[in-house]
Each structure stands twice: as C-alpha cells, then as structure tokens.
C-alpha cells in the first residue's frame, strides 16, 4: 500500500511534466494539423536555459531560493518562447499549404538541428545541478516504509495546476483563445472574419514553448541531470500522452500526461526499469490501433 502510494506520487509528478509538454503538441496539432516534432527539443532547450540561469544566479550570488526560482522561471519561459516562435517562423510558416510530407521533414530537420546546436554549444556531457529545493514531508509510514512527498514534488503539482488553470482561462475566455479556437475550426473563415491567423499561430507556438520550458525547468530540478538528448524521449512520451488523451483536445493532453506518468512510474515500480520506455511506446501503438481518436478526442474525417 505504502509502496503503491509512493509510486502514485512519483507518477503524478512525472505526469505533470508530460502533461505540460503534451499541451504544446496538442495545441499545435489542433490549429495547423501537424505534429511539431521539434517540440521535444524546445523542452530540452528550456531545461538548458534554466540550468544556465541557475548557474548564473549562483555566480552572481543570488542565494535566496524563492527569488532565484522566480527569476529562473521567468527567464526560461521568456527565452524558450522566442525559440518556439523562431522555429515556427523559420521551419513551418513558409510551408503552410505545401505537401503533407514537407512540414514533417522540416520538423525533423529542425529537431536534429536543435539537438546538435545545443550539443555543440554546451558539450555532450551530462550536466548535473545540485539540489535546489530539499526536504519534504512524510505522508504515511507503514512497516518501515515511508511515503514521502518532497517539497519539490509539491511545488511541481502546484505550479502545474496554476499553469493549467491559467491556460484554460486563456483559451476559454480571452480574445486570443477565441482566435485560436476559430483558427482551429476553419482557418480561412477565421481570416475572412478578421482574425490574424499568422499571429494566432505564432502565439500558439509561443505558449506551447513557454509551457514546455516550465516542464524543462521542473525536470532540471527534479532529476538534477540533463543532457542534449533528453528532448527525444520526453517528446515521444508527451506525444503519446497527447494521442492517448485525444490529439487536439486540451483536457485530453493533461489527462494523457497524467496517465503516461502513472504508467511509467508503476511499470518501473512493479516490473522493470529496463523496459519502462517500451511500455510507453506500447501504449502508443495500442491506442492507435484501438482508439485512434484518444480518450477525449473526436474521430477525424479527412475531407478534400
């Protein structure tokens, strides 16, 4: 029971991270109908920027943790958003309305480029950051096994929850959200009715990148080790989360992220850590075979 609870806590933490990345996939898919393969790399860049900002603050002598965290959060979100914007502007916008395959290949190229860009600039070695937030509280004790929730895990839950509420509000009740939903339904009609489609799509990428940046920051704090290759696996997993929840559906992305996090945590807790990544891919394939529209998505009919 205690072990189960501990895996649950770990799984929800992972799920929060995947959910934040999955939103970026699902939003972009909803609005322009393509999979942004470079999104995993945006998350990786977020992790690196947060890591470097921590080091910079350390060197500058900012040692009060809440201030440092806030500064890191802001700088990471800001700089990573610019990356998200630039990726769309360079690799996707010129390809709007071209063949089906072109944006996908462009996205793969972008992903390869960003990975190697970070590797060349920051080195291929694994970077490790000493723990910033330590300690936690004990949830329950059972037969010598303690279930612990660290402060960091708590911070991750709270931050994710806040961001999701904020984000849901943006999509549901602001002019930007309305424009996004309009573009999602019919881009040409939206343009005719005075929605600036290019700007809306750009902002979608910016928001997606900002959320992925937060996920990157969380992972940097949670695991303490990052390298230039983390975006690949996290990207595939978050994509799986988006598909599981129903691609194009925002609550679906959050739900999917949570489920993938739990599956991974329980799989490595009860079966084997060697095959935990395989379990996630297995879920992806199963979902695609039996329920391609995901848990909360609508079936899609391709029209001329």
């Amino acid at each position: 029971m205690a072990y189960f609870l501990q895996q649950l806590v770990n799984g929800v933490t992972l799920g929060a991270v995947y959910g934040l990345i999955a939103i970026g996939y699902t939003m972009v898919y909803g609005i322009i109908g393509m999979i942004n393969f470079a999104h995993g790399e945006i998350y990786m860049i977020g992790a690196f920027i947060s890591f470097l900002t921590f080091l910079l603050l350390g060197a500058l002598g900012v040692s009060y943790v809440p201030v440092a965290l806030l500064l890191v959060l802001m700088s990471t979100m800001a700089f990573t958003s610019v990356y998200g914007w630039a990726v769309e502007r360079i690799a996707y916008r010129p390809l709007r309305g071209s063949t089906r395959l072109a944006p996908l290949i462009s996205a793969i190229g972008m992903s390869i480029f960003l990975q190697n860009y970070v590797q060349l600039l920051q080195g291929a070695r694994v970077k490790s950051l000493p723990p910033v937030i330590e300690g936690g509280f004990i949830l329950m004790r059972q037969g010598g096994f303690t279930v612990q929730v660290t402060w960091l895990q708590l911070a991750i839950f709270v931050l994710t929850l806040v961001l999701m509420v904020l984000f849901t509000y943006v999509v549901a009740a602001t002019p930007l959200g309305r424009a996004q939903r309009a573009c999602e339904q019919d881009r040409i009609m939206a343009a005719l009715l005075g929605v600036d489609v290019d700007r809306t799509i750009s902002l979608t990428f910016v928001i997606g990148a900002a959320l992925a940046a937060v996920a990157g920051l969380m992972v940097t704090l949670y695991y303490g080790v990052i390298d230039f290759f983390i975006g690949f696996l996290a990207g595939v997993k978050a994509f799986t989360a988006a598909v599981l929840g129903g691609i194009g559906s925002l609550p679906g992305a959050m739900l999917g992220g949570l489920l993938i996090g739990l599956i991974e945590a329980f799989w490595s807790g009860y079966f084997s850590t060697d095959y935990k990544d395989v379990s996630v891919f297995g879920v992806l394939v199963l979902v695609l075979i039996f329920r391609p529209s995901g848990l909360l998505g609508r079936p899609e009919v391709e029209k001329v």
């Binding site: 610019v82 996908l104 990975q115 190697n116 060697d274």
Partner: protein, 413 residues
C-alpha cells in the same frame, strides 16, 4: 534596397541575438570540487547576430537583383541514364584504380551500404510518401537475425540473407498494419518509437542479443563456398588457394565491396521495375492524393503496406550485409542518429530520385572523412539542410518530382 530591408535585417539580427544569448552566451564549466561555474562567451552571440544580419541583407540584395535565387529553374536534367551508367562504371572500377587503398575501399563499401539503405527508404518515403523515422529498426532486425542464425544454426551469409530480408519484411508488416490506416504523421512517430523500442530490446535482452556487448564473430561471406582466410578451415579450399594466387587481406575487402555493389544495384533495378508496375504507380498516386486514390478503388492500406514491407526487406538485406562486414554488431550502431542520416540522404538527394540518393550518400558519408570539424558539424548541417531544402526546394537538390508514368496526351503537349 530601402530602409525597410535594413530594418528587417536588424530585426532578424536582434532575434538571433536573443536566441543566442542564453545558449551560446553562457557555458557551464567544471570547477572540480567547487562544483559548476559559468563562463560568458558574448563574442559568440555577436558573431551569430552579425551573421544573421548580414546574411539577411545579402539575401535581400540578391533578391533585389531579380536573380530570384531560391526558385532558379534548373533545366530538366536529361542525362539521368548516362550519369547512372557513369556512376556504375566508376563504382565497378574503383577497387582497381591505383589510389584504391584499404581505406578507400572501406569508405566505398560504407557509402554503398548507405546508398542501399537510401534506396530502400526511398521506396517508402520517396515513392509512397510515408515518413518512416525508424528505418534503422529494420536494418537492426536484418543484422541481428543474420548474426543469430549464424551463431545458432551455423548458416553462412548467403543462406541467411533471404531470412534476414524476410524477417525484416515481416516486422514491417506487423508494425505497419495497425498504423498505416492512420494519417501520415502518426506513422512517423510510431516508427520513431518502434525504432527506439527495437534498440531498447536489443540492449536489454542480454541472453539472446548479448545486450550492450553485442554479438561478435559474425562470419564473413564466402565466394561460392570459398572463404577468404589465409588457411582453409578443414577439408575445403580457400579463395586464394583455388585461384592459385597469393593470400591478400585486401581480396576480402574487394569482395565485400562487390557484394554490396551487387545488392545495391539489385535494389535499384527492383525499384525501377516496381515503379512501372501497377503497384508502383499506385504508390506514387497515393503520395499525391490519398482521397482520390480511394475514390478510384485503390485500397490505401494494402498499397502502403506493400511499400512498407518492401522498404523493410531491403533494409533487412542491408543489415545482414552490415553484420557480415563488421563481424561485430551492437545496439550502438542502430540509434536514431542512423535513421536520421538515412532520411537526410533521401531528402537531400530528392525524394524519389535514385541518382540523387547516390550523390547525397557520397557527400554525407565522406563528409566526416574530410576532417574533425566536418564530423562534428555533420548532423547540425544535415538538420539545417533538411529545413532549408523543404522551404526552398522540396523536391530535393537534384531531382524533380514527377510521376514515372504520364498520359500520352500530356507527353505530346
């Protein structure tokens, strides 16, 4: 060139500076016991921003000259057949020219492996328009199935080759069947996941695949039963003994080179033939418009599956050859990097173009040989080139995308 251009370029420069600031401007340094420190490298940021600013200006200037750089229409390339013939002749002659050292032949063999993989993937990506990001999985299946068949049943290269291809093809069908009904993007990510899955299984299934240590002692191919060893195994003959020539280690390398050349040419022949068959035409039609194909009574799943399976089989053959050449295989050789390289070869060469794949493979494989800098920047350049080509010349550097078959009326026009 108006002030608008300068403003635009300045804006691009500023964005580049913002992008470069965190990742290029700072770098973590190891301080030993004191942990990690940070160093500034603002010169990198300045160089990056300056390069973007002037690059942007130069581009605008070139556009202003009405040369219209990106869309310069290359004349339709007529000498395809001739160029192909020249390339084949050059490939056959390569081992016999004076400068053909061990290294040159080795490099030539590597290039030909990638040419074959590129041609195999070309069937899937170039002809059928299915983006396969886990092509290396089939390559791995081919390599491991040969290594295991050799280890368990004592099969030689030539006996195991059909099984390697068959097994890889079966894998392709099993994987493709569930996902080929879905949109192309799903296929891309599922194949990506599948490629990774195969690698993880190879890495962890230690008692069969040897885990990270891989499988060593994969046998080399024989020349109609004649091995390329200094001494005959027991009752048989060796290659040099049979022909009455002195033993030379280079004979084996040259033989391997010709084996892969033959395999690659067979692949090319097969692809060119298939393109003329109804199935090949269905691939190309499906690439252009799936809905129209469905309306015409083509079953998209079956057609896609056939392309996928043939691509996988060809990858399996290449894998078996790779195993026999290396004599040793491990999961290290089958990473996503490899899939990306093969895809880059197909994309840069021009999807659907056979000659383009050859030229792209030559450039991409020999680039790292030119020096350490090229080796380091190789993947960075590939990635950037893939984006730029999609933006400027989606049909590839050399090729033009054109159906293999057209109506007689359209031809006469």
């Amino acid at each position: 060139m108006g002030s608008g251009t300068v403003k635009d370029a300045a804006l691009a420069g500023v964005v580049a500076a913002i992008l470069a600031l965190p990742l290029a401007g700072f770098q973590s340094v190891d301080l030993g016991t004191a942990g990690l420190g940070i160093e500034t490298r603002f010169s990198y940021v300045a160089i990056g921003a300056g390069a973007v600013f002037f690059g942007r200006l130069a581009l605008a200037f070139l556009r202003g000259l009405h040369v219209n750089v990106p869309s310069v229409a290359l004349p339709r390339f007529q000498g395809g057949r001739l160029l192909g013939g020249v390339l084949v002749a050059a490939a056959v002659a390569l081992p016999f020219v004076p400068f053909a050292s061990r290294d040159v032949i080795y490099l030539g063999t590597t290039i030909l492996i990638y040419v074959m993989l590129g041609w195999g993937l070309n069937v899937v990506v170039g002809l059928a328009g299915l983006l396969d990001l886990g092509y290396v999985a089939f390559y791995a299946v081919g390599a491991y199935s040969f290594a295991l068949l050799a280890g368990w049943l004592g099969l030689g290269f030539w006996e195991a080759l059909p099984f390697s291809g068959l097994l890889a093809g079966t894998f392709g069908i099993v994987l493709g069947f569930p996902v080929l009904r879905l949109r192309g993007d799903y296929l891309a990510i599922v194949t990506l996941g599948f490629g990774e899955m195969v690698r993880i299984v190879l890495l962890n299934w230690t008692n069969v695949t040897g885990g990270p240590n891989g499988i060593a002692g994969v046998p080399a191919p024989t020349f109609f039963g004649l091995p390329f060893t200094p001494r005959a195994p027991h009752d048989g003959m060796t290659f040099h003994g049979f022909f009455g020539i002195a033993f030379d280690a280079q004979q084996k390398m040259i033989f391997l080179y010709f084996v892969i050349l033959a395999l690659a040419l067979a692949t090319n022949f097969l692809t060119l033939r298939l393109r003329r068959l109804p199935i090949g035409r269905a691939w190309e039609a499906l690439r252009e418009d799936e809905i129209a194909c469905r309306a015409l009574g083509i079953d998209p799943t079956k057609v896609k599956l056939s392309a996928f399976a043939i691509g996988a089989t060809l990858g399996g053959f290449a894998g078996a050859f790779f195993a026999t050449r290396q004599g040793f295989i491990s999961p290290e050789s089958f990473t996503f990097q490899e899939s990306a390289t093969i895809l880059a070869i197909v994309v840069l060469g021009g999807m659907g173009s056979q000659t383009g794949v050859v030229l792209a493979a030559i450039v991409l494989v020999s680039l790292p040989e030119l020096g350490r800098v090229f080796a380091e920047f190789r993947m960075l350049i590939f990635g950037a080139a893939m984006v730029l080509i999609m933006v400027w010349r989606p049909q590839g550097l050399l090729a033009w995308r054109e159906p293999s078959i057209r109506l007689a009326a359209a031809e006469a026009r």
